[in-house]
Symmetry: C2
Subunit: 546 residues, 2 copies
């Protein structure tokens, strides 16, 4: 027997409709790419997004067509986003930090038909326009006055909007219709496309709006520093309008001084970003002695939160920190570390230990840990395993079938991360499964050794990879890039590690390098390191073989 | 083009699974019907709910069958609820405050197959068991020791559970499958059945978990005083486990002293109930001089919040009040009055004015105001209209087609309430559409006059209805039940109203009565009043005719 409740498809156009109906005067503040601070409202955004839908239609965009954005967080980007999705087209957010050839590959793979871009990227596009064969129109997100002429045939955003009608029907399609497309960062291989549906985005939005996840409300002033091209700005481009919060868009300037200026001038209460951005802000605060007068909470994710950042926010500036983990494939929220009642009864030091873990899954994320054979592992806080997830905003398959069948027999997606789960329900990432070192049947976390090694006063960067060993299969080897002008020996580093990691985790060798390669989004590129170390033979392996 | 995210049906069994997986040791505390406080956990509840599913199967319950509960808020009721829904049967919560003939009517209408009940209702059932022909089994929610023998063939809950296996598959069906059945209170006519689906309950749960709605989290200790038979305890029987909060179940004792005892002994932070329950608590606090040491927030709904209750909670006890409006047909949440940034910038007095309104719709509730012809009315804070709603947890049609087609051409459900919407997005209920008085083409709110009239020091109860008038169609007449031993005249009341309401709202007559009839759930029964006043003729009408 079926229930008798209404059929109301979960489509994201309803989110901006809601903001327009119930919070029309609420502000969207943008540090524009042209320079000045620009103030609009949800009513403006709604009107302009509708116009944008008509612009797209007049450019020949059909439901299902991919429309790309190569843009910073601005009100225009937000309008474009809803304008695309509202008519059933697919908003493909491009990460400008990718290398140009990666960008061209992704645009071709996605077959983007129209590309919206900020002034910042005009030089780049002027150079690579030819290699984007699928792209029929480039729209520059600026006004006539600032319109460049270096891209032949490029269209002016404001001019198009002015000429378009604000009357356009949104939605009316299946909630499983594709809404967004985002490629993974390409850290472990070629970027893969994740095709979000209206339903998955809508449900992700509701989940992030819950108190224990992002917990934002209409009283918050929200600064999404995490870019809209980074997996939906962690959902904030949806949840902000959904709660009717004032949203502050930082545009292209994410340095400490610029972020600080917006935090204070707009009296921001909530923000979200990766650790490196927060590090820039904290450095700025320390250098200037400035204080934060309104900021209450920050969500930090995308990479593990360093303890120093956690302490600085909480102890020095009274800002609450939520550590989150996620990935493009999970829309992106997977876990968040809001403390449980049980954790809150612990000592401050113990609580901090939990905050440094990646957090707990909310309702809507099923999570398990398995060994290589798919057998479930205990939540004992010690056993490492493959982290697998399932849920209504988790990927089922990659765009264009890339990678084939990616779910296990129970329907779980293997995240590619290695983790432990503890009895309090907290997950802690210990490595990537491609990077974990399998020594004598046991797993060694490359990340854990790296994190300690980089604490050595002479180290600028550190990376650990597994090197083949005849007896143990693999043994860790530590690569170190020293700080400018420093000198050190193998033993300096091995002694530094002693007592800080298990004995059998101790690297078999230390290799000093000129460069530790980073990927487009700043993560250590271990596939390139492994490539470069192809010929390397462990001294212990040579000895064992001899 | 469809998205490529996972198909993960929104079924409510996943909520208790989630609590069991991630918050197994979290407590459920019950004031048991037998007397003592009983402590269980989500792990216990999960295990016992699974057993209950097997009990139902062994009693012949099939997917789609209705299983009734006539029970207080207890851990057993919670287990039963998930045990029923988990296997695709329909949990039909019965309101014990209904009159026995209403109960028998509803049970017959729903064709309930099994009935779970508390010891409290055994005498009632013993008397009316014969009239519940569809009911094949009665299960008494107690243990062998307390098992009564007055209902032939009745089964003992704990004995059944002990004998059952805890191994049972849940879910695996369409998310639109019926999960729950709840009848309206019967205030304006016969109670009508609303058949919730898993999807509607799941989405309602996510929406109530958002910060601006109920905003509960895993750190809260939640006391759902609002009964599970009152539209899903406003969703708390779902949202509590969903966030892993400690839940305190008050059982049958809802008087001020009992509620206070639980608030303090369990250090409750959040609770929800109708105004009359809060009035009992506040009376108790005033009489004893007691203070509230842990309570932070209360949601009040089901009837308008009197200003005195709002002031007492906020000013005297430092407890934040959220005013909510809803109905059985909306699962039940329709609006909630969490202040917006705009309202928070107002003076304390102005803020209070907004708190007394019924609130704003969250994402997931579309809301409009129309005139009798369905034309949309402005959100100007003045214009009265029919309140209509639409959304994924709003009724599409009543159980067994009662009342026929209940949606307007745009798919909105007419709530039967008359309201105004203001420019800040707040909705304020002014009347029921069946009770509103149509005088010379304009609407007069019966409730508003009643609320003022009942403030007269001599009045115990007041009701206003429309009486036929040859010129004006209808004119208001005020019925007053005086306090014991009081005497008053028509003019006493008219003078009292003067200046407090518009001149043309002034009742044409005042009728003193011995009784103002109340419905089963304590609301004024205007259909009975109108029935009793059938022969009544307004003096002004007589005059106009003469
Ligand atoms: N809080 C966190 N702590 C540690 N690692 C994190 C955290 N949040 C995210 N990550 C890492 O980032 C990954 C998700 O990143 P993203 O989806 O941007 O692409 P990627 O995995 O780096 O690239 P690709 O999948 O193409 O190799 C996670 O799988 C995890 O390894
Ligand atoms: N905060 C509130 N303020 C004023 N009225 C409220 C509030 N909350 C609920 N109500 C009233 O309660 C009604 C919903 O009650 P419920 O669904 O229990 O049945 P009922 O409407 O009383 O009965 P029936 O529909 O059978 O006549 C709403 O339509 C509204 O009239
Ligand atoms: Mg990845
Ligand atoms: Mg009703």
């Amino acid at each position: 027997m079926l229930g008798l409740m209404q059929d109301w498809p979960l489509t994201v156009d309803k989110i901006l409709d809601h903001a327009n109906n119930w919070h029309p005067r609420q502000e969207i503040v943008t540090r524009s790419v042209e320079g000045p601070i620009v103030r609009t409202t949800y009513a403006d955004a709604h009107d302009r997004a509708k116009r944008l839908s008509n612009v797209l239609k007049s450019l020949g965009v059909q439901p299902g067509d991919r429309v790309a954005t190569l843009a910073w967080n601005t009100a225009r980007h937000l309008e474009t986003w809803y304008g695309i999705m509202g008519i059933g087209a697919v908003c493909h957010t491009l990460n400008p930090r990718l290398f140009p050839d990666q960008l061209c590959y992704i645009i071709g793979h996605a077959q983007d038909k129209v590309l919206f871009t900020d002034l910042t990227f005009v030089p780049l596009l002027a150079r690579f326009r030819e290699q984007m064969a699928s792209v029929q129109h480039v729209v520059i997100m600026t006004d006539a006055e600032h319109m460049p002429d270096s891209i032949p045939g490029a269209l002016c955003y404001e001019t198009l909007l002015e000429q378009a009608s604000a009357d356009c029907e949104w939605g009316g399609f299946d909630e499983n219709t594709a809404a967004g497309l985002c490629y993974t960062s390409g850290t472990t291989g070629n970027p893969k496309g994740v095709l979000y549906s209206h339903r998955s985005n809508f449900l992700h939005t509701l989940v992030t709006m819950t108190t224990d996840v992002m917990g934002i409300g209409g009283r918050d002033v929200i600064l999404p520093i995490v870019p809209m091209f980074h997996a939906n700005a962690w959902g904030i481009a949806f949840s902000g309008p959904a709660v009717g919060a004032k949203v502050v868009m930082p545009g292209m300037r994410l340095d400490g001084a610029s972020v600080f200026e917006l935090l204070e001038s707009e009296q921001v209460t909530f923000s979200a970003a990766v650790p490196t951005v927060w590090q820039m802000l904290l450095n700025h605060l320390r250098e200037t002695g400035a204080r934060l007068s309104s900021l209450k909470r920050v969500v930090i994710g995308g990479a593990a939160v360093p303890e120093a950042i956690l302490r600085a926010f909480q102890d020095d500036y009274g800002v609450e920190v939520s550590h989150a983990w996620g990935m493009t494939e999970t829309s992106p929220l997977g876990t968040v570390g809001t403390p449980t009642a049980e954790v809150l009864r612990m000592s401050a030091e113990d609580q901090r230990r939990f905050q440094l873990k990646q957090g707990r899954p909310p309702l809507g994320i099923e999570m398990k840990l398995t060994d290589d054979e798919g057998r479930e592992l205990p939540h004992d806080g010690k056993t490492y395993g493959r982290l697998k997830v399932k849920g209504p905003f988790v990927v089922r398959e990659y765009f264009r079938g890339e990678g084939g069948d990616i779910l296990d027999p129970q329907g779980f997606f293997d995240t590619g991360d290695v983790a432990v789960l503890d009895p309090q329900g907290y997950m802690q990432i210990t490595d990537r499964s491609k990077d974990v070192i399998k020594s004598g049947g046991e797993w060694i976390s490359s990340i854990e050794i790296e994190n300690i090694a980089v604490g050595h006063p002479k180290a600028a960067l550190a990376a650990v990879i597994g090197a083949a060993h005849p007896k143990w299969d693999e043994r860790p080897v530590l690569l170190v890039k020293l700080k400018d002008g420093e000198a050190a020996t193998r033993d300096d580093f091995l002694q530094y590690l002693e007592g800080k990691i298990a004995k059998w985790w101790m690297p078999d060798d230390v290799v000093f390098v000129e460069e530790i390669p980073l990927g487009a989004t700043g993560k250590i590129d271990k596939k390139l390191i492994r490539e470069r170390m192809k010929e390397y033979v462990l001294p212990t392996a040579a000895a064992a073989r001899a």
